[in-house]
Amino acid sequence: MKYSYITPRRKSILTKEIQLLLTFFTITIVMLFVTYFFLVIKDYNYIENMNEIAVSRLDLESNIKTMKSEITFIEKKNLLAQKIYTKNTVLKDSITNLFDLVPQRITLSEAKLLENGLILYGVTPNKDVYNFMLQAPLRSIFHRTYSSFYPAENGWLRFVSTNYVDEELRLSEEVYSED
């Protein structure tokens, strides 16, 4: 038995209001989840990067330490080498000065250069030439100068000149000149 002349409309649980509500909340929840996952991924990346930074930093630290010790060693090498080069140059100047010091009239037969002294063997025409032309400049350089003579075959004099620098006096002279 029919009570109505129209066909009944289908009733759905998803009414217009519920659809609107669900759409709104779906969008909201999706946005919240997307934001959450974005934060999780970014955060994970930051933590990963920080771990990488820590490893790189350790590497850099160890590299810096190695390079610093290498630099120190090269500086040490350079310092020693420069000291040796200077010593050789000073030695060359000392020998040049020594040979320049000997006048034409005096002939050297032997020269011994010591750490703190100089021993010269040679021939001089007479004592005066030796005293004025060789001993005088030697006295100005060395603190102690000893000379001995003995006759040579041609009437000249053979001499042995022993000269020493006293280390203590040299040091005190250096201090005095610095003042």
């Binding site: 909340f25 820590a54 020693l80 030695l91 020998i95 020269a111 011994k112």
Partner: protein, 183 residues
């Protein structure tokens, strides 16, 4: 007065409340703390990255300094690493002397990472100038050599016989190896 709410509306209201509570709880209990954590980690990361850049710059500066030092002192570094070779020394410096004999002594001393041993030299020169040239050449030779006292010059007819000791410096391989192992 009686308020009549339809069943439909009750469903709607309960769903609305449930979803609203869920959104609020999720936001306040999960999303906001995570955001806070993210922000802190970002600040920390930026700080670490800045620190790393500073370290990297410092590292580059040191590396640059080391390279410059190595380039400037290449001769000295190589000279310290080169083992003394009598034949080569004689060959290189023979032209300064009329005759040159080098004999290695066993007097070795170790000092502060360096080892040095003495070499005895006897030679003949025609004039002191040759000896000066030799002293200049020693500073440019393949080894680090110091000419030591005593130096003897003795006239022998037209020639001058000279004898002197040289100190050859090298690296103390044992100490340096130990140092590297310890590092």
């Amino acid at each position: 007065m009686k308020i009549r709410i339809s069943r439909q509306h009750i469903y709607l209201l309960s769903m609305l409340s449930f979803l609203l509570v869920f959104v609020l709880l999720f936001s306040f209990l999960v999303l906001i703390p995570k955001g806070k954590e993210y922000r802190e980690d970002r600040v920390e990361y930026k700080k670490e990255a800045r620190e790393l850049r500073r370290y990297q710059n410092f590292h580059n500066e040191i590396e640059e300094k080391l390279k410059t030092l190595q380039a400037e002192n290449r001769h000295i570094i190589t000279a310290f690493d080169t083992a003394f070779n009598q034949e080569r020394f004689e060959k290189q410096h023979r032209n300064y002397f009329s005759s040159l004999t080098v004999s290695r002594l066993l007097n070795t001393s170790v000092e502060d990472g360096f080892v040095s041993y003495e070499v005895n030299t006897t030679s003949e020169i025609s004039s002191p100038k040759s000896f000066y040239d030799f002293l200049d050449a020693v500073n440019k030779s393949d080894w680090i050599i110091a000419v030591e006292f005593p130096i003897n010059f003795k006239r022998d007819n037209e020639m001058i016989k000279s004898s002197f000791t040289m100190k050859v410096y090298g690296l103390n391989k044992e100490t340096n190896t130990t140092k590297k192992v310890v590092e």
